[in-house]
Protein backbone atom coordinates (compact mmCIF):
# COMPACT_ATOMS: atom_id res chain seq x y z
CA UNK A 1 0.00 0.00 0.00
CA UNK A 2 2.76 2.37 0.95
CA UNK A 3 4.57 1.72 -2.35
CA UNK A 4 1.52 2.54 -4.51
CA UNK A 5 0.15 5.38 -2.42
CA UNK A 6 2.33 8.54 -2.40
CA UNK A 7 0.41 9.91 0.57
CA UNK A 8 0.72 6.89 2.86
CA UNK A 9 3.28 8.61 5.12
CA UNK A 10 0.87 11.50 5.64
CA UNK A 11 -2.27 9.39 6.06
CA UNK A 12 -0.57 7.05 8.53
CA UNK A 13 0.02 10.02 10.85
CA UNK A 14 -3.72 10.52 11.32
CA UNK A 15 -4.80 8.88 14.54
CA UNK A 16 -7.88 10.69 15.66
CA UNK A 17 -10.85 12.58 14.27
CA UNK A 18 -9.13 15.78 15.44
CA UNK A 19 -6.02 14.90 13.40
CA UNK A 20 -8.23 14.21 10.41
CA UNK A 21 -10.05 17.56 10.67
CA UNK A 22 -6.80 19.45 11.20
CA UNK A 23 -5.25 17.92 8.08
CA UNK A 24 -8.35 18.69 6.03
CA UNK A 25 -8.12 22.35 7.15
CA UNK A 26 -4.44 22.46 6.17
CA UNK A 27 -5.15 20.93 2.76
CA UNK A 28 -7.98 23.37 2.18
CA UNK A 29 -5.70 26.32 3.00
CA UNK A 30 -3.07 24.98 0.60
CA UNK A 31 -5.60 24.48 -2.17
CA UNK A 32 -6.91 28.03 -1.75
CA UNK A 33 -3.39 29.43 -1.84
CA UNK A 34 -2.91 27.96 -5.31
CA UNK A 35 -5.45 30.42 -6.66
CA UNK A 36 -3.97 33.52 -4.99
CA UNK A 37 -2.49 36.15 -7.30
CA UNK A 38 0.31 37.00 -4.90
CA UNK A 39 3.49 35.11 -5.62
CA UNK A 40 4.85 32.37 -3.31
CA UNK A 41 1.62 32.24 -1.37
CA UNK A 42 1.57 28.42 -1.58
CA UNK A 43 5.08 28.12 -0.10
CA UNK A 44 4.19 30.61 2.58
CA UNK A 45 1.09 28.68 3.59
CA UNK A 46 3.01 25.42 3.51
CA UNK A 47 5.55 26.73 5.98
CA UNK A 48 3.28 28.81 8.21
CA UNK A 49 -0.07 27.05 8.27
CA UNK A 50 0.83 23.37 7.91
CA UNK A 51 2.48 21.27 10.62
CA UNK A 52 6.12 20.57 9.97
CA UNK A 53 5.88 16.80 9.57
CA UNK A 54 3.07 17.14 7.06
CA UNK A 55 4.64 20.04 5.17
CA UNK A 56 7.93 18.10 4.77
CA UNK A 57 6.09 15.13 3.28
CA UNK A 58 3.94 17.34 1.07
CA UNK A 59 6.93 19.27 -0.18
CA UNK A 60 8.57 16.05 -1.38
CA UNK A 61 5.47 15.05 -3.33
CA UNK A 62 4.29 18.41 -4.66
CA UNK A 63 7.56 19.98 -5.81
CA UNK A 64 8.04 17.18 -8.33
CA UNK A 65 4.53 17.61 -9.76
CA UNK A 66 2.99 20.17 -12.05
CA UNK A 67 -0.55 19.28 -10.93
CA UNK A 68 -0.51 20.39 -7.31
CA UNK A 69 -4.25 20.99 -7.18
CA UNK A 70 -4.93 17.48 -8.50
CA UNK A 71 -2.62 15.90 -5.94
CA UNK A 72 -4.15 17.94 -3.12
CA UNK A 73 -7.62 16.79 -4.23
CA UNK A 74 -6.47 13.17 -4.22
CA UNK A 75 -5.04 13.51 -0.74
CA UNK A 76 -8.15 15.34 0.52
CA UNK A 77 -10.34 12.49 -0.78
CA UNK A 78 -8.17 9.87 0.86
CA UNK A 79 -8.35 11.68 4.19
CA UNK A 80 -12.11 12.16 3.90
CA UNK A 81 -12.62 8.48 3.06
CA UNK A 82 -10.89 7.18 6.18
CA UNK A 83 -13.11 4.92 8.27
CA UNK A 84 -14.05 6.12 11.75
CA UNK A 85 -13.96 3.95 14.82
CA UNK A 86 -16.14 5.56 17.51
CA UNK A 87 -14.84 4.62 20.93
CA UNK A 88 -16.55 5.78 24.14
CA UNK A 89 -14.42 5.43 27.26
CA UNK A 90 -15.22 6.01 30.92
CA UNK A 91 -12.09 8.11 31.50
CA UNK A 92 -10.11 10.81 29.75
CA UNK A 93 -7.26 8.88 28.15
CA UNK A 94 -3.67 9.98 28.59
CA UNK A 95 -1.37 10.39 25.58
CA UNK A 96 0.09 6.98 26.42
CA UNK A 97 -3.35 5.38 26.50
CA UNK A 98 -4.27 6.99 23.17
CA UNK A 99 -1.07 5.62 21.68
CA UNK A 100 -1.80 2.12 22.99
CA UNK A 101 -5.27 2.17 21.51
CA UNK A 102 -4.02 3.50 18.19
CA UNK A 103 -1.28 0.83 18.06
CA UNK A 104 -3.86 -1.88 18.71
CA UNK A 105 -6.11 -0.52 15.96
CA UNK A 106 -3.25 -0.23 13.47
CA UNK A 107 -2.01 -3.75 14.25
CA UNK A 108 -5.39 -5.43 14.18
CA UNK A 109 -7.34 -3.35 11.67
CA UNK A 110 -4.60 -1.97 9.44
CA UNK A 111 -4.20 1.54 8.01
CA UNK A 112 -7.02 3.88 7.18
CA UNK A 113 -8.93 3.90 10.46
CA UNK A 114 -9.45 7.06 12.46
CA UNK A 115 -10.35 6.84 16.12
CA UNK A 116 -13.05 9.15 17.42
CA UNK A 117 -12.65 9.11 21.19
CA UNK A 118 -15.52 10.12 23.44
CA UNK A 119 -15.68 10.37 27.22
CA UNK A 120 -18.62 9.19 29.36
CA UNK A 121 -17.90 8.42 33.06
CA UNK A 122 -21.28 6.71 33.55
CA UNK A 123 -20.16 3.63 31.62
CA UNK A 124 -17.73 2.87 34.54
CA UNK A 125 -15.17 0.95 32.48
CA UNK A 126 -14.61 -0.91 29.22
CA UNK A 127 -15.83 0.72 26.02
CA UNK A 128 -18.77 1.31 23.73
CA UNK A 129 -17.68 0.65 20.17
CA UNK A 130 -19.21 1.70 16.85
CA UNK A 131 -17.67 0.91 13.48
CA UNK A 132 -18.95 0.59 9.95
CA UNK A 133 -22.60 0.90 11.03
CA UNK A 134 -22.28 -1.70 13.80
CA UNK A 135 -22.41 -1.02 17.52
CA UNK A 136 -21.52 -3.02 20.60
CA UNK A 137 -21.67 -2.00 24.25
CA UNK A 138 -18.82 -3.68 26.14
CA UNK A 139 -18.88 -1.34 29.11
CA UNK A 140 -18.94 -2.35 32.79
CA UNK A 141 -22.23 -0.48 33.16
CA UNK A 142 -23.81 -2.80 30.63
CA UNK A 143 -22.39 -5.87 32.41
CA UNK A 144 -23.69 -4.66 35.82
CA UNK A 145 -27.11 -3.91 34.37
CA UNK A 146 -27.24 -7.36 32.76
CA UNK A 147 -26.28 -9.11 36.03
CA UNK A 148 -28.91 -7.11 37.93
CA UNK A 149 -31.63 -8.17 35.50
Amino acid sequence: MQENNPFSNIVSQIQSRDDQNLLLDELSALKNSLFQIKQNTFDQVLTTKVRQKISAELEKILTASSDRAGLLDQLTKQVQDLKTLDLTLSFEPTVETRQKIFTWVKTNMGEGVVINLKFDPTIIGGAQIAFNGKYVDLSLKKIIDTIKR
Partner: protein, 191 residues
Protein backbone atom coordinates in the same frame (compact mmCIF):
# COMPACT_ATOMS: atom_id res chain seq x y z
CA UNK B 1 -13.43 10.19 51.21
CA UNK B 2 -16.03 11.48 48.76
CA UNK B 3 -17.18 7.93 48.13
CA UNK B 4 -17.46 7.30 51.86
CA UNK B 5 -19.51 10.45 52.34
CA UNK B 6 -21.67 9.49 49.39
CA UNK B 7 -22.26 6.03 50.85
CA UNK B 8 -23.15 7.52 54.26
CA UNK B 9 -25.59 9.91 52.60
CA UNK B 10 -27.17 7.06 50.69
CA UNK B 11 -27.40 4.92 53.83
CA UNK B 12 -29.02 7.87 55.61
CA UNK B 13 -31.52 8.21 52.77
CA UNK B 14 -32.27 4.45 52.92
CA UNK B 15 -32.89 4.78 56.68
CA UNK B 16 -35.21 7.74 56.16
CA UNK B 17 -37.07 5.78 53.55
CA UNK B 18 -37.37 2.83 55.97
CA UNK B 19 -38.81 5.07 58.72
CA UNK B 20 -41.27 6.59 56.30
CA UNK B 21 -42.40 3.08 55.25
CA UNK B 22 -42.75 2.07 58.91
CA UNK B 23 -45.23 4.90 59.49
CA UNK B 24 -47.11 3.98 56.33
CA UNK B 25 -47.41 0.37 57.53
CA UNK B 26 -48.47 1.55 60.99
CA UNK B 27 -51.31 3.64 59.55
CA UNK B 28 -52.44 0.62 57.50
CA UNK B 29 -52.32 -1.51 60.68
CA UNK B 30 -54.42 1.02 62.66
CA UNK B 31 -57.01 1.17 59.91
CA UNK B 32 -57.25 -2.65 59.92
CA UNK B 33 -57.59 -2.66 63.70
CA UNK B 34 -60.50 -0.18 63.48
CA UNK B 35 -62.24 -2.48 61.01
CA UNK B 36 -61.72 -5.45 63.34
CA UNK B 37 -63.31 -3.48 66.24
CA UNK B 38 -66.34 -2.76 64.07
CA UNK B 39 -66.69 -6.48 63.44
CA UNK B 40 -66.54 -7.16 67.17
CA UNK B 41 -69.37 -4.62 67.63
CA UNK B 42 -71.51 -6.53 65.11
CA UNK B 43 -70.95 -9.73 67.06
CA UNK B 44 -72.07 -7.97 70.27
CA UNK B 45 -75.27 -6.78 68.58
CA UNK B 46 -76.04 -10.35 67.47
CA UNK B 47 -75.63 -11.74 71.02
CA UNK B 48 -77.77 -8.93 72.42
CA UNK B 49 -80.57 -9.71 69.93
CA UNK B 50 -80.49 -13.39 70.95
CA UNK B 51 -80.77 -12.43 74.63
CA UNK B 52 -83.76 -10.16 73.97
CA UNK B 53 -85.53 -12.96 72.13
CA UNK B 54 -84.79 -15.40 74.96
CA UNK B 55 -86.19 -12.94 77.52
CA UNK B 56 -89.29 -12.41 75.40
CA UNK B 57 -89.85 -16.17 75.21
CA UNK B 58 -89.49 -16.55 78.99
CA UNK B 59 -91.91 -13.71 79.65
CA UNK B 60 -94.40 -15.21 77.24
CA UNK B 61 -94.27 -18.55 79.04
CA UNK B 62 -94.66 -16.80 82.39
CA UNK B 63 -97.77 -14.87 81.21
CA UNK B 64 -99.37 -18.11 79.94
CA UNK B 65 -98.60 -19.90 83.20
CA UNK B 66 -100.11 -17.09 85.26
CA UNK B 67 -103.21 -16.94 83.01
CA UNK B 68 -103.72 -20.69 83.47
CA UNK B 69 -103.48 -20.43 87.24
CA UNK B 70 -105.96 -17.53 87.29
CA UNK B 71 -108.35 -19.53 85.07
CA UNK B 72 -108.12 -22.47 87.48
CA UNK B 73 -109.01 -20.22 90.43
CA UNK B 74 -111.94 -18.65 88.56
CA UNK B 75 -113.33 -22.03 87.53
CA UNK B 76 -112.91 -23.51 91.02
CA UNK B 77 -114.77 -20.52 92.49
CA UNK B 78 -117.59 -20.67 89.93
CA UNK B 79 -120.90 -21.85 91.43
CA UNK B 80 -122.70 -22.71 88.21
CA UNK B 81 -120.55 -25.82 87.61
CA UNK B 82 -120.69 -29.02 89.61
CA UNK B 83 -117.43 -30.65 90.67
CA UNK B 84 -117.27 -33.14 87.78
CA UNK B 85 -117.84 -30.44 85.23
CA UNK B 86 -115.25 -28.25 86.96
CA UNK B 87 -112.74 -31.10 86.85
CA UNK B 88 -113.53 -31.80 83.19
CA UNK B 89 -113.26 -28.13 82.21
CA UNK B 90 -110.01 -27.75 84.11
CA UNK B 91 -108.58 -30.88 82.51
CA UNK B 92 -109.62 -29.62 79.05
CA UNK B 93 -108.28 -26.17 79.82
CA UNK B 94 -105.03 -27.70 81.10
CA UNK B 95 -104.68 -29.73 77.89
CA UNK B 96 -105.47 -26.73 75.69
CA UNK B 97 -103.08 -24.54 77.62
CA UNK B 98 -100.39 -27.18 77.35
CA UNK B 99 -100.94 -27.52 73.61
CA UNK B 100 -101.01 -23.76 73.11
CA UNK B 101 -97.94 -23.34 75.33
CA UNK B 102 -96.08 -26.04 73.42
CA UNK B 103 -97.06 -24.47 70.09
CA UNK B 104 -96.08 -21.01 71.23
CA UNK B 105 -92.91 -22.36 72.71
CA UNK B 106 -92.11 -24.15 69.47
CA UNK B 107 -92.95 -21.07 67.37
CA UNK B 108 -90.91 -18.84 69.63
CA UNK B 109 -87.99 -21.23 69.50
CA UNK B 110 -88.25 -21.43 65.74
CA UNK B 111 -88.50 -17.67 65.52
CA UNK B 112 -85.48 -17.29 67.79
CA UNK B 113 -83.62 -19.86 65.72
CA UNK B 114 -84.55 -18.14 62.43
CA UNK B 115 -83.58 -14.78 63.87
CA UNK B 116 -80.38 -16.23 65.23
CA UNK B 117 -79.44 -17.78 61.92
CA UNK B 118 -80.32 -14.63 59.97
CA UNK B 119 -78.21 -12.52 62.29
CA UNK B 120 -75.44 -15.08 62.14
CA UNK B 121 -75.55 -15.12 58.33
CA UNK B 122 -75.56 -11.35 58.17
CA UNK B 123 -72.64 -11.04 60.53
CA UNK B 124 -70.73 -13.87 58.88
CA UNK B 125 -71.28 -12.60 55.36
CA UNK B 126 -70.26 -9.10 56.44
CA UNK B 127 -67.32 -10.49 58.33
CA UNK B 128 -66.24 -12.71 55.43
CA UNK B 129 -66.56 -9.85 52.97
CA UNK B 130 -64.62 -7.50 55.21
CA UNK B 131 -62.01 -10.22 55.76
CA UNK B 132 -61.63 -10.67 51.98
CA UNK B 133 -61.43 -6.90 51.48
CA UNK B 134 -58.88 -6.52 54.25
CA UNK B 135 -56.77 -9.38 52.89
CA UNK B 136 -56.86 -7.94 49.39
CA UNK B 137 -56.04 -4.47 50.65
CA UNK B 138 -53.18 -5.86 52.74
CA UNK B 139 -51.78 -7.76 49.77
CA UNK B 140 -52.02 -4.73 47.49
CA UNK B 141 -50.41 -2.44 50.02
CA UNK B 142 -47.60 -4.85 50.81
CA UNK B 143 -46.98 -5.56 47.11
CA UNK B 144 -46.84 -1.83 46.38
CA UNK B 145 -44.53 -1.20 49.32
CA UNK B 146 -42.32 -4.17 48.39
CA UNK B 147 -42.04 -2.89 44.84
CA UNK B 148 -41.24 0.64 45.96
CA UNK B 149 -38.60 -0.58 48.41
CA UNK B 150 -37.09 -2.98 45.85
CA UNK B 151 -36.94 -0.27 43.18
CA UNK B 152 -35.44 2.26 45.55
CA UNK B 153 -32.86 -0.16 46.93
CA UNK B 154 -31.92 -1.37 43.43
CA UNK B 155 -31.48 2.22 42.30
CA UNK B 156 -29.32 3.08 45.30
CA UNK B 157 -27.23 -0.09 44.99
CA UNK B 158 -26.78 0.67 41.31
CA UNK B 159 -25.64 4.22 42.06
CA UNK B 160 -23.26 3.09 44.79
CA UNK B 161 -21.78 0.34 42.60
CA UNK B 162 -21.23 2.73 39.74
CA UNK B 163 -19.79 5.50 41.89
CA UNK B 164 -17.48 3.22 43.86
CA UNK B 165 -16.35 1.14 40.87
CA UNK B 166 -15.99 4.14 38.56
CA UNK B 167 -13.56 5.88 40.91
CA UNK B 168 -11.88 2.71 42.08
CA UNK B 169 -10.45 1.40 38.79
CA UNK B 170 -6.86 2.40 38.11
CA UNK B 171 -5.95 3.89 34.73
CA UNK B 172 -3.83 0.85 33.90
CA UNK B 173 -6.81 -1.45 34.54
CA UNK B 174 -9.04 0.89 32.57
CA UNK B 175 -6.65 0.65 29.62
CA UNK B 176 -6.67 -3.12 29.89
CA UNK B 177 -10.48 -3.16 29.93
CA UNK B 178 -10.57 -1.01 26.79
CA UNK B 179 -8.13 -3.27 24.94
CA UNK B 180 -10.15 -6.32 26.04
CA UNK B 181 -13.30 -4.63 24.78
CA UNK B 182 -11.65 -4.03 21.41
CA UNK B 183 -10.58 -7.67 21.26
CA UNK B 184 -14.09 -8.82 22.13
CA UNK B 185 -15.54 -6.55 19.45
CA UNK B 186 -13.12 -8.07 16.96
CA UNK B 187 -14.22 -11.59 17.98
CA UNK B 188 -17.82 -10.53 17.47
CA UNK B 189 -16.88 -9.28 13.96
CA UNK B 190 -17.77 -5.70 14.82
CA UNK B 191 -14.22 -4.60 13.93
Amino acid sequence: MTNLAFIYILLFLISCFGIYKYFCLRSVYLSLKAKENKLKDADYVRRRAEKILENAKNKYEQVIEESYKKAQVIIKDAKVFNDDTKQQVLAELGKSIQTITAEIKQETLEEVEVQKQATQRLVESDYDQVKVDVERYKKEQFAAIDKQVADKVAMLVNQITKEVLGHGIAIKDQEELVIKSLENARKQSIL
